[in-house]
């Protein structure tokens, strides 16, 4: 779960990371109200998950309530424009009104997980306010890294070392160790996969603030902080994610494409291999669908309806290799789907092997269905049927 800036900053505040004064607003009226009540110079920022807000004109300054109303109206008028990662753009549902900082320097600080080292890695760069990928390309040596021993955790020397190694302006030095420490606490306490401050601002009066906040929480750890379920409601799910969620799947278990061969498999690896098999057979895939481990008949039926009703599939290849998933349960689900559903019916190619395979085949046979033997065979057949 990726958090919006205002949500990330709420966590920053709790962890003791200094953030500028701010107010969250859902319309231009609230923006004007906030500025009216709180004298100062302000920045109004679109609250979206996509990057590139500045370039898209979704961050604007305002010194009076009227200016605030006006820029807020501007920002809210159009959604975030699409980019490569987000081909549909993103609607803007709220704004953050934030104190304008007298910026002297901008730096970068983040903590994420290094899969190979199997450790949290803290990164600091003296180049802030720009895409870190760009920094990594242009100034690779400017990024200082520290791999944290999880048995020890954070200790202030880490922040000191990073400040010296990244050659941060001396003005950061005193404050960095405690800010990085607080960021590490947050990272660990809330089970984050990424926490990022970009830019980490040094003001002309020598203070350090997190001027932006990017937090990605581990979905698997959300149960430890039930309040995040509430936050999640305010986050935009794209249509695919909404559909997956409604069907009782993980939001990442379903994704649509332009093709006409529907696919479903158990396990992400097999589901990807199934898509590859359809492509290899000359077909175009209509979707990715991982039905998950240990799926029961009802889940299988839901998935059938999900694909048939929401994709351009003209044929449907169901590829199950049972392990924790049992063939009999899958077969029952398919039979139920075909018998009970009110959805349109499309040609079905089933491949069913592994755990309880025989029982599954018996159930399918009773309903007049004969599974194919291999994945390649099934893919080929489905591609033909979709033509």
């Amino acid at each position: 779960m990726n958090l919006m800036e205002y949500q990330g900053k709420e966590l920053f505040k709790r962890a003791g990371i200094p953030v500028p004064r701010s107010g969250h607003a859902v319309d231009a009226h609230q923006v004007a109200d906030y500025i009216e009540k709180t004298v100062g110079e302000w920045v109004v920022k679109a609250q979206v998950l996509m990057g590139g807000r500045g370039k898209a004109g979704k961050i604007k300054f305002a010194n009076t309530a009227d200016e605030g109303r006006s820029v807020a109206t501007d920002i809210l008028a159009t959604p975030m424009p699409p980019n490569r990662q987000n081909p549909k753009g993103e609607p803007i549902n709220s704004l953050l009104v934030e104190e304008k900082l007298p910026i002297a320097k901008e730096a970068y600080c983040a903590i994420t997980i290094d899969r190979t080292a199997k450790k949290p890695v803290i990164m600091v760069s003296r180049f802030g306010g720009m895409d870190i990928e760009e920094v990594a390309e242009k100034h690779p040596d400017s990024i200082a890294k520290f791999y944290v021993d999880t048995a020890i955790g954070y200790s202030p020397f880490i922040g000191r070392e990073l400040a010296f190694e990244s050659e941060l302006d001396a003005g950061y030095r005193k404050q960095l160790p405690s800010i990085v420490g607080a960021l590490y606490d947050l990272f660990f306490r809330y089970g984050a996969k990424l926490v990022e401050i970009n830019p980490l601002v040094l003001t002309t009066d020598g203070k350090v603030y997190a001027s932006d906040a990017k937090v990605e929480l581990d979905d698997d750890a959300l149960f430890r902080n039930p309040e995040f379920a509430e936050w999640q409601k305010h986050l935009p799910l794209d249509e695919d994610e909404q559909l997956a969620s409604k069907a009782g799947l993980g939001i990442r278990n379903f994704r649509r494409f332009d093709g006409n061969v529907g696919t479903m498999a158990n396990g992400a690896g097999l589901a990807m291999a199934t898509m590859d098999a359809v492509t290899n057979a000359g077909g175009k895939i209509a979707n990715f669908l991982d039905v998950g481990g240990g799926a029961n008949a009802e889940r299988v039926r839901n998935c059938y309806e999900l694909v048939v009703n929401n994709t351009g599939a003209k044929a449907f290849f169901i590829n199950i290799f049972g392990g924790i998933t049992r063939g009999d349960e899958v077969a029952k689900g398919i039979v139920q789907a075909m018998e009970e559903t009110s959805s349109r019916k499309i040609p079905l190619v089933i491949r069913l092997t592994g755990t309880n395979e025989e029982e599954g085949r018996r159930i399918l046979a009773k309903a007049g269905m004969t599974p194919v033997e291999t994945m390649d065979e099934g893919a080929k057949r489905a591609v033909e049927l979709a033509k």
Binding site: I113, G322, I324
Partner: protein, 292 residues
């Protein structure tokens, strides 16, 4: 020979009286695995339907049975606790089947349990064909032989094993290492073991998009196993970039993690990469023919 697991490895099951634990214990026992008991707190003293003793704690189980291996079927919030319990009781090999374990739990566990090998989490386990199975893999597709198999995906493992078996190629040990961002045992860890296993003569590495495990494996092969016949496969080659499909392991990020990067790394290490799982047996046969 095999790695990690053989007929004599003494195995316990944590969560043995739960639905999954009980079902798969039965299958492991039937496969021939030397399961010596299991653990469910509060049910110590009972017996499973197979007649296996149930203990209240892993410590009790280890003291009574001398178990060294464990298979963990507990819900995600309790997986780290189960791993630590196994560790403190002296278990040296733990397979964690559980899907959905918080990544920070695993970060901490792998950093603080030196000397205990962990397979998974979110993995199907491993099989040393004809000897023993720990986990949830369907035993009947395996056949004993000399090819080692490592895979990040569970069901894809079965698929590939099935193809190998049908092609008459037996396996020494097949390991599903799991698809989570932080796992106990990586491709490289398994390759190192296979390298030292005199009866594993070839290896199949089934990777997928995301992460850099495949690139690390290629680097290891090129340095330490240049002579070993090894075939690679990368799942998800047709996944569009920037989208995340299924488990977190399959997120493409940066230059690493793309199918192109992984295929290039394998090829640079002299490892042919199969376009589809069904090509694996043929490529392997070719590599074996060249080597032999």
């Amino acid at each position: 020979m095999s790695i990690f697991l053989d007929k004599n490895s003494k195995v316990i099951v944590q969560g043995i009286t739960g639905a999954e634990g009980s079902y798969h214990t039965d299958r492991m026992v039937k496969y021939g695995t030397h399961v010596v008991g299991g653990v469910t707190p509060g049910k110590g003293g009972q017996k499973t339907p197979q007649g296996l003793p149930v203990f209240d704690t892993v410590k009790d189980a280890v003291e009574a049975t001398g178990a060294t291996h464990t298979c963990i079927f507990v819900p995600p919030p309790f997986a780290a606790d189960a791993l630590y319990e196994a560790y403190e009781a002296g278990i040296t090999f733990a397979v964690c089947i559980t899907e959905g374990v918080p990544v920070h739990d695993m970060l901490k566990v792998v950093g603080t349990t030196p000397g205990m090998r962990i397979i998974g989490p979110n993995c199907p386990g491993l099989v040393s064909p004809g000897k023993a199975s720990i986990g949830i893999m369907p035993g009947h597709v395996f056949t004993p032989g000399k090819v080692g198999l490592i895979s990040r995906s569970g069901t894809l493992t079965y698929e590939v094993v099935d193809l190998l078996t049908r092609a008459g190629i037996g396996q020494s040990t097949c390991i599903g290492i799991g698809g989570d961002p932080i796992i106990g045992t990586t491709f490289v860890d398994c390759l190192r073991e296979f390298k030292n296993d005199p009866e594993t003569t070839a290896v199949v590495v089934c990777g997928e998009i995301g992460g850099s495990d495949e690139e690390d494996a290629a680097a290891f092969i090129s340095r330490h196993m240049p002579e070993t016949p090894i075939v690679g496969f990368i799942g998800g080659r047709n996944a569009p970039p920037g989208k995340s499909l299924g488990h977190a392991g399959a997120i493409i990020s940066g230059n690493f993690g793309t199918p192109q990067s992984k295929i290039a790394a394998f090829k640079a290490a002299g490892v042919p990469v199969a376009d589809r799982p069904s090509d694996i047996p043929r490529l392997l046969a070719e590599r074996l023919a060249v080597t032999v």
